[in-house]
Subunit: 915 residues, 2 copies
């Protein structure tokens, strides 16, 4: 078995396809050698060695690897014409980790291996290199002492022992920077470091270069199982049995003289995506200095340098003198570097993040990898590369990350503002975006303050449909209770408004109009800021920025729509929502909740009048007055969505949600209606429910009071006919909520059809419409075959389905969700990402039984999961026809839907490619 | 095709196995002829003729039947030596319906067919028979005019036209009884009846005997589709395509002279089941007179007569003179009758209800059928017949009706009291039994009043665990809300206490301590009575009786247990419940709800102390004090159930159920605990849940606060060891509630096992115990394979499973259940009888997946469905191991479980018997 793979010089054994074996870094180093780029030669010890290390232990692995490593070092000595451990012409090595997936900073590195008391003498014999030599020895002892020998702070809070020594020395010398220390100081440091190691660990810093090398290699293996690495893998779902490779490479130095330099570069601008080679460098420096921020790094390109100067307010003269670009300073090196980066991008067909060093006028490329980028850059680079013919459409789709895309659709806090932001508490990231405002505790205040031109954040224990207007007026919503699908969260996402829910540490006192968190008191009118993407609440006011999305975004969406199989509709309750949805490319409305219209001013009174009626006649009188209002709403929504389907769900919530919540408002209602307070109270008491989520709502209500469905069906059909008359194409779909028994659906269908026929008879005109049912009750999924034959479509309401399948109330779930997540009982919030085992099986069963009984049945999802990437992929696999999500999630859903389709076709290709 | 089947005389074509073709009555008439009993000859027109009638119409069927009927009448004339329509020696006929299943009184009958103006002359020519002849003619015109010709009241409330005429005549004559009318009066009646027919219907009463016969036959066919018949079939699930047969039989007369008589008899006492021939008769009377109650009927046997005399306070002399038994009055007839009834019972191997007539010293048996009986008689007769060798054990099981058995286990209102009872309102029959008491509206009052020796009925909108003590003290429980599995219903059934829930018409005013229903006001202290078997609430106090169940009941149960596959356990929370359960034959406890113990005095304070603790240490302190109390409870229960398994469920309800519900009690608690009221209020607010049914309870609580499970596990294991030490065999099983995710179960199992091992280590002793999980969340059923490998048993909690699968809150369901039942959306309350399609499929899936992953897994049910016959049959078919129900349902469950096993073996026999 072979464990060691050389790269560079005249022999390279790996390539970029061997990431599993050589890790990302090792594979790319080999690849760069293969395409002729100047890479310091070295070798990679494979991930299999790491796996072997963990199953058979250190000694056995070293025995196994020893001769291979020695051979590889020998080969390296030939390639570099230096000799490891030879004071005369010493070869120095770096030892770095390199896993299959990038785990930046999670594992250990040791540089400058091969120095000892003899080697240093040789290394430092060249006066030009003397300082570099001692600085390298000092750094080597520090890194080796820390990483390999394990000299670390003994208790929490203690300073790093090496740092402590250098701090003390700099204090004694009265200097601030390491670079201000003299060569003698560096020698002293080496001595002090080694004494500390001896004192603390009881043995000497090793002088044998081979011991140094072997111990450094096993230390890197050990760091694979370090605490940080384990945590990182857990978060990023990286299997622990992958193991890491180890890269042993000859050292090059950018800090020998002014003819040396070092830097990092991106093949395109990682912030904007612009096709512009960009990066920073430092003359006479080592890699870590560029990122350390002690000296101001300079721009690589002239154009970059000029742009920088404008921003940094530096004159052209000063720029040329003090901050020249590499392009000006080392034109030949720049020419080679530019050619190299161009070669890399063309070769990898992806934006690269690379590291280079110029050692004595010779360019070395030390590393290349796919460059990290902002959401905006992600979209632009992918679309530009498509135009450049570098990648195909499938790749454009694959290269966009839905989470990053989401960033583009909401404002974020300014970077500068964030630096000084003070975290107050945390809750669930209920609705993305960032906003600041003055705290108010009541929806009416939110409206009033907003009307007075103030920016407000509405803070509530939980919100209810009564708060809708206030939520509209607020910049953001913060609740101390509720989960990711609580009322506050759902409404905030629907409005595209930033929201945090379930911030449990918050204690709200409505009477005093204050809230308290960890001893901090916030009163009405105080400023706070919400980051709905992270769930963090900050005190004070923070500035926000909005990224503008332009033509490239549209381009991306078009590519997605071409590939996607799952159509993307939006949940939209108002004409404004509908327009937003259309703007984001929704292919229709998959859920229009009629009840939200009921809460608007002037309407709620009619609804209450209906509820307080003693008999059907009274209810019908109130409903007759609601009819023209509903009809007008529907006309506006139909108009906004012309040519696209609009699915209107009949009344869903229990009636008590429309009644006032306290005595003051109950009394006001009584007065307004001209009835006794007791009568109102009696109705409130009668309608009270212990578990409203499992109560008298949805079609249960409509089958008890058919007059409600009659009014709503009439409003829908009349609105559709009115528009048709004006030449607008209308595709109405009527949806029955909360059905669990086929008879419930049949009765509602009878009512809808009868009403429609009445309207057709009255007007002498007809229009096509569809009738469907929500599948949101576990039983409905199980008996879906009994439903399917009666309807045109199914729409899975996966919020309620999750509530009932798990037995979780989304309003109360926040009480134990954090515990469940922290104890690992739940891997994710099932209201955010669909549970594929329980809830998912019901979706599969419902779809399969529905389609068996009714071939061609349209099946979709209109729960919050419709906007969640993992869930969308599941729905694609399950063969659904569409998802419907909040307007602001539509682009993400379109992207993920396309990704799912691409993944499927890739899988098919692979399958077909098999012999 | 043959439609007419003769019986009697020298030719009988049917037998008792031909009920499908000849109906029950026709088949039995034929059978009696075959075994040599004296039956007036006749013929049966088959149910196929009825089916033909409904598919092809009257005329075609008559054409088809005419010659067969004429042949049959001719044969009848030969057998009786009379002639139909012949004035000299007229044959008179009766025409009666006779369906496959008994539909008493639902269809029509016409007697005395064949009389016309000529025939009456011949019939009345014998002076002895003159009155009988005219009375028969009068009756015939009345019945025929009503049933065949359709002369009925024209509008609601109008008197029957025939009754009106006879009433008028009796008024004119100043007499009260029909029998007081003279022969001339009867002649006048015939005339007036016929005039009325002519006047109202426009045509004459038919004189042609053949027209009479054909029309009477088709009238009986028509009555199969009468409104009453259709309703009856709907209620009793009788298919409408079965049709009815028609029995045409020669008339015999018990009212010719004192040498004639008529009566009804039972082969055993239908009230007590005693093996005692019993029945009533009247001399010189017609069948209907016996049941009409105008004359007091006399007892058939001497023993019966003597017993009757004692009850009726009649001296032996008077009895002999005025109310002699048939045995004394007509000893030869009695001898023949006794022999006949004996023959019938031996032949049918079942208690018979028979009708007979003595015409001029000749005995005729007119009908026999299985006799209706009380629950007590049902049990006794079946067990006695087993002992007599008449039937086998399977038949004993089949012949007992679970609903009737239930009657035996609860008190009922006295018949006499019921006659004057005033219905107040109706609710759901939540818990069977009958009781009266004074109304109280608060649980504390119930306790106080009961302690003061009063009988109380606790009336609440709904009950909560806080009310448990008050419910214990009450005679019965009445709630205005909630369904069959509401808290009140479940607890009442568990206590074997009569209860009515969801009496929606009731308006309770707690402040005024009154309730109002349909304008009637009831205040605290007023008497009401509840019939929990029917759901009817009566005003006032009604006397109750309790049927005593003795040895025969035990015998029945033993037979059942021999056959049953499904074991029957009981839900029992206290030692008292456990003793009751054992008394009723429970094979263990399938559900012991530990939280019920928490509400008892002295304990609730500790529970509240735990809840109000700020940290785990505080909770542990409170739990430490609860430990010995719980241990003692468990010891008592284990003791009561020694040798049988006891399944203890860990804490299930949410913590807020243990906190007070109003400010007064909250303040009291604060004072008692020595903390601020605000602190209590804060906890109450924090723990409040929007949907507690879907909230923080069950193992969700136990996984958040493991210390609760630790205390309970310790109490169980310590209690078991203590008893084992005393030589008591203990089989503890620990059950984890509300699991939906396998990790939830695994974590609880870890806690339980760790605690048990700790106790074992401390004591140096071990005991076997089992761990299981409830499957009550839809997801749990779907992922049952992931649970099964970790546990010893599953127990389906079908109450919660039904709640979540249907999305119904059992507390709120009462609001629309009545509407859903009346509109036919639901066929039955799914909390009473399991929904076999949705919930049932989850039980099947859970069982199958559980057993696949863990062969030998024990699977049972501990929801309310465990005591419901239809549900038990379903669980048997699904292959479950046991059901657990409230102690008072145990006998029913044992019976039904045996019935399911017998039904299965019968099915297997049938299958195996096929060629």
């Amino acid at each position: 078995m072979k464990y060691v793979y050389e790269f560079g010089g005249n022999q390279t054994e790996g390539n970029s396809k061997m990431k599993e074996l050589l890790g990302g870094k090792g594979a790319n180093l080999a690849e760069m050698c293969l395409i002729g780029l100047p890479v310091p030669p070295g070798f990679t010890i494979s991930t299999e060695a790491c796996t072997h290390y963990y199953s058979n232990g250190k000694n056995e692995v070293l025995q196994l690897l020893r001769s291979e490593i020695q051979d590889a070092v020998k080969s390296l000595e030939q390639k570099t014409t230096k000799k490891y451990g030879d004071p005369k012409n010493p070869l120095l090595l770096s030892v770095r980790s390199g896993a299959r997936a990038s785990m930046p900073g999670m594992m250990d590195t040791v540089l400058n291996l091969g120095i000892n008391d003899q080697v240093i003498e040789g290394l430092a014999s060249d006066p030009v290199r003397q300082r570099m030599a001692w600085d390298s020895y000092r750094r080597f002892i520090h890194m080796y002492g820390d990483v390999v020998m394990g000299l670390k702070p003994q208790e929490q809070g203690e300073e790093d022992p090496f740092e402590e020594i250098i701090h003390r020395l700099k204090g004694d010398r009265g200097v601030k920077l390491d670079t201000e220390l003299t060569v003698d100081d560096l020698k002293l440091l080496c001595q002090q470091y080694r004494s500390k190691i001896k004192e603390r660990l009881g043995h000497e810093f090793p002088q044998d270069p081979w011991e140094q090398l072997e111990s450094a290699i096993t230390a890197v293996f050990d760091s694979w199982m370090g605490r940080r690495a384990i945590q990182y893998r857990k978060i990023n779902n990286i299997p622990s049995d992958w193991g890491t490779a180890v890269n042993v490479q000859s050292m090059v130095f950018g800090n020998i003289s002014d003819l040396s330099s070092t830097g990092v570069a991106f093949t395109r601008d990682p912030a904007t995506g612009e096709k512009l080679f960009t990066g920073e460098y430092l003359i006479n420096a080592q890699g870590e200095d560029v990122v350390a921020g002690i000296r101001t790094p300079m721009q690589i390109t002239l154009e970059g340098s000029k742009r920088w100067a404008i921003l940094a307010d530096v004159t052209e003269d000063e720029r040329k003198k003090t901050y020249p670009s590499l392009e000006e300073q080392m034109p030949e090196m720049y020419r080679q570097l530019f050619a190299a980066q161009n070669k890399l991008e063309q070769h990898y067909r992806e934006m690269q993040d690379l590291e280079f060093t110029v050692e004595d006028q010779k360019l070395w490329i030390l590393q290349t990898r796919t460059g990290k980028r902002t959401g905006m850059a992600m979209v632009k680079i992918s679309v530009d590369m498509l135009d450049e013919g570098l990648i195909i459409e499938d790749e454009v789709i694959e290269r966009n990350d839905p989470a990053k895309l989401d960033e583009l659709l909401h404002p974020v806090f300014q970077k500068e503002a964030m630096a000084e932001a003070k975290e107050l508490t945390r809750g669930l990231p209920a609705s993305p975006g960032a906003s600041s405002g003055q705290v108010v505790f009541f929806a009416e205040d939110a409206e009033e303050w907003a009307n007075a031109g103030k920016q407000v954040i509405l803070v509530r224990m939980e919100t209810s449909p009564e708060d809708i207007q206030g939520m509209h007026s607020a910049q953001g919503i913060l609740t101390s209770r509720g989960g990711m699908t609580s009322h506050a969260a759902v409404v905030a996402r629907g409005m595209g408004k930033c929201g945090i829910s379930g911030a449990g540490a918050l204690h709200i006192d409505y009477r005093k109009r204050t809230m308290e968190v960890d001893g901090v008191n916030i009163k009405e009118g105080d400023w706070i800021s919400l980051d709905g993407t992270t769930g963090i609440v900050y005190s004070g006011k923070l500035a926000t920025v909005t990224v503008s999305i332009g033509g490239t975004f549209e381009r991306l969406m078009k590519v997605c729509s071409k590939k996607a199989k799952l159509r993307v509709l939006a949940n939209a309750d108002t004409p404004v929502d509908a327009i937003t949805a259309r703007k984001f490319g929704a292919e229709g409305i998959g859920l229009c909740r009629t009840e939200h219209m009921f809460f608007q001013e002037g309407r709620i009174d009619l609804v209450r009048q209906m509820i307080l009626s003693h008999d059907e006649a009274g209810r019908v009188r109130a409903l007759d007055k609601l009819l023209p209002i509903q009809r007008k709403d529907f006309e506006e929504i139909f108009e906004a969505m012309k040519g696209l389907p609009v699915t209107i769900r009949l009344l869903d919530p229990p009636l008590h949600e429309f009644l006032p919540l306290d005595e003051v408002n109950e009394r006001a209602l009584a007065q307004q209606m001209g009835i006794n307070y007791e009568e109102v109270l009696d109705k409130v008491t009668t309608l009270h429910e212990m578990n409203p989520m499992l109560g008298h709502r949805g079609c249960r209500l409509a089958n008890t009071y058919p007059e409600i469905s009659i009014m709503q069906s009439r409003a829908i059909i009349e609105a559709a006919l009115n528009l048709k008359r004006r030449g607008v194409e209308v595709l109405p779909e009527i949806m029955i909520p909360l059905a669990g028994i086929s008879r419930e659906v049949i009765m509602q269908i009878d009512i809808i059809k009868k009403t429609a026929e009445e309207v057709f008879a009255e007007t002498g005109e007809r229009i096509d419409y569809k009738i469907g049912t929500m599948i949101e009750i576990p039983r409905a999924a199980l008996v879906a075959d009994r439903f399917a034959q009666h309807v045109d479509f199914f729409s899975f309401g996966t919020n309620d389905l999750t509530q009932m399948t798990y037995g979780y109330s989304r309003d109360d779930f926040g009480k134990f969700l954090p515990v469940y997540l922290s104890k690992g009982i739940l891997k994710a919030d099932p209201f955010t990402t669909i549970d594929q085992f329980g809830v998912g099986e019901l979706v599969e069963i419902g779809t399969q039984r529905g389609r068996t009984a009714h071939p061609g049945l349209k099946v979709g999802v209109c729960g919050e999961h419709g906007g969640d990437p993992e869930s969308i992929k599941f729905f694609h696999r399950t063969g659904l026809d569409y998802v419907s999500c909040s307007p602001y999630r539509v682009p993400i859903a379109r992207l993920v839907s396309a990704q799912a389709a691409v993944a499927e076709s890739r899988k098919m290709e692979k399958k077909n490619a098999l012999p």
